[in-house]
């Protein structure tokens, strides 16, 4: 008999700020969020084997996030525009409004870099959106 499966309905909490203490909850504007933890692959193959082998190098973490744009105080533009060209803080939990736990871990990047932001992206008949990429930073996954 097959075990019942638990699937994930995308409803994450996304907070961004200059530091953890000033992170603003932008979940209500968020359309997509992809946080990637990556360890660069350094090839350690040798002629002793016909297989390629790799080992971990530097960590290259990244958050790519898309928001519906808003220019109101403390919303998308106001929160993000001061962070362009700085190291900042981002955190995401899988389920918004639910306590952090082993089944709802809080993923964060500290001192992650925001290189660029489209301050205006307008298309006829469409809602404005902004996509951002936060690069690097120290990754953590908290369960409490």
């Amino acid at each position: 008999m097959a075990m019942p499966q638990t699937v994930y309905y995308s409803a994450p909490e996304v907070k961004i700020g200059a530091a953890s203490g000033s992170a603003v909850d932008l979940s209500e504007f968020c359309k997509s969020a992809v946080l990637t933890r990556q360890a660069d692959a350094l090839e350690s193959s040798s002629m002793a084997s016909r297989d390629r082998f790799f080992q971990a190098g530097m960590n290259s973490n990244q958050l790519v996030v898309t928001f519906n744009q808003s220019y109101e105080a403390a919303e998308v533009y106001a929160t993000l525009s001061p962070l362009i060209g700085t190291q900042c803080y981002v955190e995401c939990t899988p389920v918004d409004g639910t306590a952090v736990s082993a089944t709802n871990p809080k993923f964060s990047l500290t001192n992650t870099y925001l290189e660029a932001m489209d301050v205006l992206a307008a298309n006829l008949g469409e809602l404005g959106e902004v996509q951002l990429t936060f690069t690097g930073g120290t990754y953590a996954a908290a369960t409490s």
Partner: protein, 58 residues
């Protein structure tokens, strides 16, 4: 010096009043810029004393 929270951030909700010492300078500058907080206790310039005018004696 205190700040009033206008928009939620961190563990703070709108209407909270927080001491300046509870925020780092960097966080305070950032949150003021975003509009998430507003400064209270803004120092007003010292009140000027009344200027006395001499009565004419004619």
């Amino acid at each position: 010096m205190t700040y009033t929270v206008l928009h939620a951030f961190g563990d703070h909700q709108p209407g909270d009043v927080i001491e300046a010492g509870d925020l780092s300078e960097m966080d305070a500058a950032y949150l003021l810029q975003t509009g998430a907080i507003a400064a209270n206790d803004v120092q007003k310039p010292a009140a000027r004393g009344k200027t006395k005018t001499a009565k004419s004696e004619d």
